[in-house]
Symmetry: C2
Subunit: 495 residues, 2 copies
Amino acid sequence: MSFQKLDELGHKLEALEHALAILGADEATHMAVGGGEKRADAMAALAGMLHRQASAPEIADWIDAAENEDLNDDQRIALAEFRRHYTNLTCLPAEFVERQTSQRLRSEQLWRDLREKNDWKSFRPALEGIVSLVREEAAMRASVLKLDPYDALMEQYDPGNRAADITPVFDKLKTFLKDFAPQALAIQEQRDAKRPRKPLSGTYAIDKQRALGLAMMGAVGFDFTHGSLSVSHHPFCGGVPTDVRITTRYKTSDFLSALMGVLHEAGHALYEQNLPHQWGHWPLGRARGMAVHESQSLFVEKQLGRNPAFWRWALPVVERELGENWSLDDILPWVHHVERGLIRVDADEVTYPLHVILRYELEQELVSGRLEVADLPEAWDAKMHEYLGLSTLDNPADGPMQDVHWPGAAFGYFPSYTLGALMAAQQWAAFEKVHPAANSEISEGHFEAVNDWRRTNIWSQGSRYSTPELIERATGEKLDARFFIEHLEKRYGQA
Amino acid sequence: MSFQKLDELGHKLEALEHALAILGADEATHMAVGGGEKRADAMAALAGMLHRQASAPEIADWIDAAENEDLNDDQRIALAEFRRHYTNLTCLPAEFVERQTSQRLRSEQLWRDLREKNDWKSFRPALEGIVSLVREEAAMRASVLKLDPYDALMEQYDPGNRAADITPVFDKLKTFLKDFAPQALAIQEQRDAKRPRKPLSGTYAIDKQRALGLAMMGAVGFDFTHGSLSVSHHPFCGGVPTDVRITTRYKTSDFLSALMGVLHEAGHALYEQNLPHQWGHWPLGRARGMAVHESQSLFVEKQLGRNPAFWRWALPVVERELGENWSLDDILPWVHHVERGLIRVDADEVTYPLHVILRYELEQELVSGRLEVADLPEAWDAKMHEYLGLSTLDNPADGPMQDVHWPGAAFGYFPSYTLGALMAAQQWAAFEKVHPAANSEISEGHFEAVNDWRRTNIWSQGSRYSTPELIERATGEKLDARFFIEHLEKRYGQA
Ligand SMILES: [Zn+2]
Ligand SMILES: [Zn+2]
């Protein structure tokens, strides 16, 4: 039986993915510094085995043959996802993948070096090479998937996402934010003038910060029998659903950034831990995609973790763990701090979407050929000026060279960040509508109802639906920017 | 070119072995408790891939063809070891290996359960099944390798070891120890009567014990850029040569056992870290075998770490880390404590070999069929009585049920422990002969010369020579019990 063969293949691929996930997390957390070269060799060899086994030509026949077998409902939707997965994995010729992989590695290395030197001129030819490969890639994906080229790239990260649907949503948000960001900054300035902020300065021992993080993770639902928290230079959520590894990074002078990082990664972890285990060895059992994943981390970090109700409950926990006694009026200005800046990863929830929309717009132009790399610094600067009133013309390191995505040939990924923020707000609104006690429960540290809602509507669905379908089914309507806009108005629009 | 194919295969196998080694170490140190089932599935699948790839039939042709190729010296000895490895791996039919694996897993599970209940009667049929499979296995290995059956089993662990060579060495040691163990105990008793021991009791915080362990590991040569120390329930040395993971287990009431454990595992780690890296992806680049490996751990733990000269240097380090001020006369009675006991793993260096020789003798009889499992408790008891003056007839859990080796079908492994102890003493004697300053250097915390000697004579040789050849080349003569006997007499035979 062909479905049986796919099922067995799923177990083999899961073993290799398990190994890669744990080796990856281990590398960032526990590996000896001298172990890196052999680790890279081992992971490259395992990734090669995984790719070869997952893209073997006979799998196409198994998928076709399984269509005619007597399958139950789970198997039928699993089969559709096997096919989607296989098609996306095999739509590029091996020769192209090799060429792209080596060019991408070279361009990433170059980027690391030249970004530090703020040397756009030397980096430009490498990025031109990458963009030309990405155009090739997009054309090939588009022809196999019967999609527009940029949609075919997004399809890797968020199945079902289409620029034609996203652009109007982003436009509405952009129009709002161009006015709202300066307003929010002015409101913040007035409030700080009226009541100067109490600095959160102090020395917070790492073991105390860790205890605080563990307490918060546990409270929002992290399952410590299926995961752990450790330290790494770049925080991440890795591992496997039965053993999710999240990390943070501590500064003894600033507990809030590590704590918010822990909540963010714990949000990713909750999704992984609560995926449908019975489908664990099928593509169907995976998280839906990057945007939905980010919606889960932002749900915990922004919708819950920066909610004033949350801090009513959290402040006594902070006092217990760190020994500091703050009021809501002390902490909220820091939790809701807004700042106009050049760097996407440092941005707050008001300005972050403008960084993403800028990239979303520019990368579509780059992929389509309407924009050339040579003209990118000017195009970036013009948008940066329009959206945030800042210039990067003399500072490409903090302009078009600031992210690893483009040097790494990951075009079509950026929208996921802001789609995640929009989805998180829409999910919270849908939950609050059916559960009016939402805020009061959270102010008492009860997260059961909100987790049940997410478990039912998001986590347990795995990859059953496309990204837009999943959100529409969970929230009762298509993705709409108004929920996020209302969320921002409520949190940042009041003096 | 066929050697080239073997070389490429070596890289692939190394990647899978790397994954298995790190996943194994991670499981014991950092895995979430609920992650075990998926981890076991993943490791079983990877081990299956490794076995299939390492035993593929075409490899035999590559090995044969490579014999006629123009190879350099390294390649030629690598090829011989590729052949030895392949032959040992493929000399059992797949059907047999599967049958044995499943029966072994069942018998190990049963053993865990029944040992706790001290229930020999229920365990006996399972062990009979295992022994019958081991007889089959030994016969098959013997016929392929043209060796005696028991030698064919030992060949897996220590290439070149033959019962005909080992038995006289063990007999000499046994004859000595049967008299010497009671003498050493009497000497200890008199000394304790004359000068009652100062108890080493205190509360030693785990982070201080860890700092002490790290200081000692570093001093004896452990390279922290290629390895680390963590905690696990059963101490081990795992990982890969570029990232060796050693573990210990702490009791706040007893710093000495954790410290000695750290030194033991650090001895294993030194061997792994100093293997010839240029051969890392060939079988030739591996440690020679279990006995030689144990000789390296026992060298550090017993020859160095229990040497009074070592403690002249170590006591101030202990004082610095733990804040306790002991004299040599306080600490040495604990470091050299001898005790007659039923349990091999708890035994000291005087009585330990008698536990091993008992097993070595009995397992040869079991493999040859001269002894049946039904008669094992009486046979065990008779030897226990003769060698150590203890009875286990009413206590099979601490008699023939005490080790996992037999339930796990690992016959031919036990001699490695005592061979390691003999080799360590012989290596120390050889080193001291060419380096008379040995003890005075160690009393000053200088381990460079002794490590250089071992690097040259043992570590850098990888699997170039058979076990007996390696020892003869390193020490100038065949394995002889007299070095270990002289070592014991010096350390335990003087009032
Ligand atoms: Zn995230
Ligand atoms: Zn050992």
